[in-house]
Symmetry: C2
Subunit: 452 residues, 2 copies
Amino acid sequence: MNFELTREFIDNLRMLIEANDERQVTELLQELHAADIAEIMDALSMEEAKYVYLMLDGEKASDVLIEIPEDDRKRFLNALPPEYIARQFIEFMDSDDAADILGELDEDVKKSVLNEIGDVEIAGDIADLLEYEEDTAGGIMAKELVAVNENWTVATCLKEIGRQSEDVDDIYYVYVVDDDNKLKGVLSLKKLILNSTNTQIKHIYNPDVKWVNTDTPQEEVAQMMEKYDLVAIPVVDDIGRLKGRITFDDVMDVMREEAERDYNMVSGITGDIEVGDKVWPLTRARVPWLMVGLFGGIMGSRVIGAHEEALSHLPATAFFIPLIAAMAGNIGVQSSSIVVQTLASGVRDFATPWQKLLKQLAVAFLTGGIFASLIFAYNFFFSDSMSLTYAVSLSLFIVMTLASVFGSLIPLALHRLKIDPAVATGPFITTMNDILGLTIYLFISQMFMNLM
Amino acid sequence: MNFELTREFIDNLRMLIEANDERQVTELLQELHAADIAEIMDALSMEEAKYVYLMLDGEKASDVLIEIPEDDRKRFLNALPPEYIARQFIEFMDSDDAADILGELDEDVKKSVLNEIGDVEIAGDIADLLEYEEDTAGGIMAKELVAVNENWTVATCLKEIGRQSEDVDDIYYVYVVDDDNKLKGVLSLKKLILNSTNTQIKHIYNPDVKWVNTDTPQEEVAQMMEKYDLVAIPVVDDIGRLKGRITFDDVMDVMREEAERDYNMVSGITGDIEVGDKVWPLTRARVPWLMVGLFGGIMGSRVIGAHEEALSHLPATAFFIPLIAAMAGNIGVQSSSIVVQTLASGVRDFATPWQKLLKQLAVAFLTGGIFASLIFAYNFFFSDSMSLTYAVSLSLFIVMTLASVFGSLIPLALHRLKIDPAVATGPFITTMNDILGLTIYLFISQMFMNLM
């Protein structure tokens, strides 16, 4: 029952499309999961993908629509009449998917689609969801959930679940609310099954429920669900009324998204990119951070240019330029990455700011000391110039210490200022430390040259 | 009901511990989730953490044991008698957690503990799990699940669930098996609730169930559950018998683990490290990759040293050494990161190897061309030497092209050879490209100097 996409499958499908064999194409796709169909469409040409998509029935078509890349979806939907979007796609979707997709459309198209939705309750739910910030609990939650009143019995409850569950694919938990729809607790389906039908809900529900507020950032939602192993978490408003729920699959998407964003940042890539993408998007994703590198390189050439005299006096000074730059860059990236990753995992450090700084300084001194000693030993045996030997070691020590401390403190400071600390990783920190390293190295070399 | 760990809470707890106020400490901890208690213990000193831990009752103590860092747990358990470990901790745990923790112990301790477990069935389950490779589906699955026979009715099923569910915290799905325990399909609790009690299971279960094999790599399990939004997936052996199940929380751990490993690799950190760790672990995590950088820097100094004559002839050649090295390093990291991330997400590219190479070449040419032109324009206006202007541009073009192509192909080749492609990111690729870049740049500069 597991499907694996192979090149043979794609080649075969292509042949059937070319032969315009609608019956066989439909048959081939019938049993497949929407995620598989989206993957297949991604491997096909635009024309072929369109052909495949038009073979799908309403519900499958809207499931697939959620899975395809945002750009393709936007282009496709903006070419369709609002009425068609509402009736053929949106009405089949869960409220969170519907809101995500409507949120991608142009403002006027979005409004028209909302007005074309037949069921006012559905339209209202989607309109409500569109109000929340995209990366908050409100922005990723769905309206579909099963809620029961604390005063009901198990029997009423089971009947209500039968009614409500038409819209809810997976129930996981039943949420217990009071007459004002305020969240009181949670009830597992297991408990519902194992209790007699005339038991009152208020006697069996668990009041120790974890919840998030509609404006809790999505990273915090993910950290919380991960920490407590929750399959779903209820979302409440400021006065505790139950507004929606977030399920584990939404949170997996958030985790993947966050991990990719941080990874892209540290490796200097802009935007969401894959090996399979076309030449221009692949190139475009690289240009911005390389531009930072180019700018840094030009700055570096100016710094060296300012010390041309020293260089012609002792050309061996140039030998260690790449070493200083590389070590400064590497240790800076390490430091900032440790901070970014700790912040992302939600683990907190209860040390005072001074303790933190002191520890980072200790790590920096120790690391700088190790490598300054190593390069001193190397130069002591292999270099002709004692002044260069001293200059390289001392510079490496200072540069590594500074780069390490900056690398730790800058992301911490950004986090304080509510700016994503991940921007201070990768090419940004490398470039900054390259220039800093060069400046210090050449200054110290000149000093030793004058001294000795 | 949400708990947030604050410095005030820690300070207050510390005071109570100091005053040896057992009653209040117990009261403070009573309502807390095991994950919170582990977090609290992490913020305390070793002695204080021990004090807190000894206040916990058997079941809570074993829940907390699962949450604390591996090193602490190992040190703690290896000091206890096997009988105590078996009776106080292991017997309270799910089979997957028990197997993970036993797997960390020394071989002889492990065997003694297994033999001390009172219930032979539990001991057998754990021993079975210990047979599987750690990073496969078998290694992360749990034995606890609810399975029903296809020939039963809903009523028998509900009774059986009541019996089996004592051991299973969250049911999610009921798995349907035949008389040989071979997996036939899946049944949601919702369907069970909504059907009449005399319906036969074989008429209502869903045969379209996704499953994994015991030796499926854990990354693939994660990709699959994420793709199909599965809250749990059954694990079968080679002839299709149901062996266990993996739940979403195990997979979230795998995702976090993989993301951290890849992130550490690209930023040059060894091991699992956090800002809150002590000075020596923080330093040790940095040394290995900095060593690679130091070695690369020394190699670089040798390459430049070999061209000392050219440098003294035109010292301005040295100005652009950092630029060439930085651009080569950055574009190499970008290329390898895109490949590593695509591989990690499980998205496949169905292009032939030649198409892939051709595309990477096109991206490399385009990117190299853009930056070679930019630096040409800069040097044309600001540099005195035409030969240097040509040499820098041409070198940058060649170096960026090569670095980009290598950066893409090396991780792909490693993946083919079943080696983790992430080792070819970060300092490794940067260092290699630094040296390559320097060699090419100095060779070309010399060539132009001789020509012009």
